[in-house]
Each structure stands twice: as C-alpha cells, then as structure tokens.
C-alpha cells in the first residue's frame, strides 16, 4: 500500500514475466487460499434462502403500508432476512474462511470432491459478503420502517446476485468494486 503505484506495477510485472514456480492464483502471503467451490456452495444456500424470503415477503405483511411494530418484527420474511443479514455480517467481519457455510462445505461436501485444482484469494469473496450485507441490511431497515415492498425488493436484488454467483460463478459484488473506485467511494487512500 505504501509503495507508489509505478513501483508496485513494475514489481508485479517483473514477477509475472519471470515465471515464478509458486502458484500465482494462490492467496497473498499472510492469508491462506480457499477452495473456490466453497463460496459458490455458500451462494447456492444463500439464493435458496433469499428465494424463500421473497415468497414469504410477497405473501406476508411487508407489502402492506401502515402495519404495527409487532406485525413488522414478527413477520417471518423479516426474521429470515435478519438471519441472512447476520450470516452476511459474519462472512464480512470474520472473513470468508470462518463463514458458517464454509464450515458446512468443508465438513460435508469437500471430502466427497476431488482436491481443488487451484486455491483462490479469500479477499474478493469476503468483499462480496460485504455487498450482500449492505443490500440485505437495507431490506431489514426498510422493513422495520414499514416501507411497503422494501424488504421484497432488497431480497430480490440479493437473490439475483447470489444466483449469478452460485449458478454462473459470476461475482457481482466483485464487479461492483471498480465502479465504486471510479465513483471515488472506495480505494482512494492515496493522497
């Protein structure tokens, strides 16, 4: 981070052209690489839960204006979205390596699969968890405020993102990062 961009890029260029024997896909030093199938497995669970939440939301009181507090906080769609949000928070702040679905993947799924052909840097999927956390948090807040369809719309956005990740392996959260950099929201630590 402290290095100037020119030095940084020059260093990385020489590193890539010299053809180091180490796995270039591996995580940066100081963090361990993860099996890329782990976050994808987690995304499948996430989009199934979000799909259930969309149904609960559409058939429940969250689409209605003027509901009471008691109705809002006991709405099953609200409770499920809150749980999903807390799991996103876990993945964001504890890191994707300590994600509960990751533990599930390692204990139940991974032993039945062949060894991963490559390990992935855990930083991008952790960032994607943050994006998921932000989107579902908006849904939770809108549901608490009693904004009709707020919960459903947020759950639907998160559903599409998790579906693209789980089914197509496309990390929408990671793609959004460069747009946030361009907008000057993220990444400008350089004076």
């Amino acid at each position: 981070m402290a290095a100037t961009p020119s030095k940084k890029t020059a260093a990385s260029t020489t590193k890539t052209s010299s053809g180091s024997p180490a796995n270039p896909l591996a995580a940066k030093p100081g963090s361990t690489g993860i099996d890329p199938r782990g976050p994808r497995f987690g995304a499948v669970i996430t989009f199934v839960l979000l799909g259930i939440d969309v149904i609960l939301g559409l058939t429940g009181p969250s689409v209605e204006a003027g509901t009471s507090w008691a109705v809002r906080v006991t709405d099953p769609a609200f409770i499920l979205l809150l749980v999903i949000t807390l799991i996103f928070a876990w993945g964001t702040f504890a890191g994707i390596q300590r994600h509960p679905y990751g533990v599930l993947f390692r204990t139940l799924i991974r032993p039945r699969l062949s060894a991963p052909t490559e390990l992935e840097d855990p930083v991008p999927p952790t960032f994607a968890q943050l994006i998921g956390f932000v989107v579902t948090s908006v849904g939770v807040v809108l549901a608490l405020l009693g904004v009709p369809y707020g919960l459903v719309v947020a759950a639907a956005f998160a559903f599409v993102a998790a579906f693209l990740n789980g089914v197509f392996g496309y990390c929408l959260g990671c793609q959004i990062y460069v747009l946030l950099v361009r907008a000057g929201i993220l990444g400008r630590t350089r004076a």
């Binding site: 981070m1 961009p5 020119s6 940084k8 890029t9 020059a10 990385s12 260029t13 890539t16 052209s17 053809g19 270039p24 896909l25 799909g51 969309v54 149904i55 559409l58 058939t59 429940g60 009181p61 689409v63 209605e64 204006a65 003027g66 490559e118 992935e120 840097d121 930083v123 991008p124 999927p125 960032f127 009709p148 369809y149 639907a156 559903f159 599409v160 579906f163 693209l164 089914v167 197509f168 496309y170 990390c171 990671c174 793609q175 990062y177 460069v178 747009l179 950099v181 361009r182 907008a183 000057g184 990444g187 400008r188 630590t189 350089r190």
Partner: protein, 164 residues
Amino acid sequence: MPVREWWIYPKFMDALTASLALGGLVVLAAASGFLIRAREGRAKILTNAVRVTPEQLGLRRGDLPFGSTATFVQFSTEYCAKCPATRVLLAETARAHPGVRHVDIDVTQRPDIAQRFTLKQTPTTLVLDEAGMIAARIGGAPRPDALARALDIARRRDHGSYTI
C-alpha cells in the same frame, strides 16, 4: 367492505402468484447470467487509433514497460475474483510470443486511471500494438481464442482505418 386500492393498500399476494414472481426473478437472473457469459472475455476490436502512454498508466517512461511488438495492459483491483487467473493467462501468452509484454495495473488506489479508461469491470485488458495504439479491448477474463485474435490484429501493421 370498502374497496381497497392496490397501490395504497396492497393485498398480500397468494402463494401461487408469489411463486410465479419468484419464477420470473429466476428467469431474469438466468438470462443475465447467460448474457454475461456470452459477452465476457470477447475482444472488441478498436479502429479509432487511441494511443496509450506509460504515463497514463502511472508508469515511468524509463521503465520501458511496453513490448516491441505488442503489449497486454491488464487493469486489476484488489477485490477481483478473476484477475489472478487473467494475470497467469496474459503472462504465459506474453512469454510465448517474443516482443510481447504484459503489464498489470492495480487501479484500487488510482480512480483517475479507472476513470480515464472507463473501466466497467476488472479484469479489463487492452491489447496495444507496437506504437501503443489500442488494437482491442477485452472486458472480463479473456477467452484464449479472443486473446489470440486480438494479439494477431495488434501485430498486424494494417489496421483497416489506419496503417502504422
């Protein structure tokens, strides 16, 4: 019973309609997924002769970062799932072709560079010819065949609209 206007007091949706709505969402997500998959990694051939200088990439001219026949300029960020794999592909392709170099630019700290090249996703790869003109632009992880075609065009002297 008073008539309830749906936009003021939406009635709860019945389970069947809600399932249909979710089905619509699945179709939408799957369609976007197929669209992204179809577009990702393809080479867009540019013929409007835009020259890239090392300075614009935050590199110093003294570094001699560009290749003598062609250059792959890869734009990456820290939070980019497919950048490492792209780095491997571009570095290996550059090694296999004499005079071709690969430069990886991390734009995480350089919003100005991301803005100048209107990056909509990372990785984005520019394939430059020997004069530093952008011959092709590849959004997303490049397909090997698209990369080979882009490199072929960059190494050609006749670019259709202009000749170097």
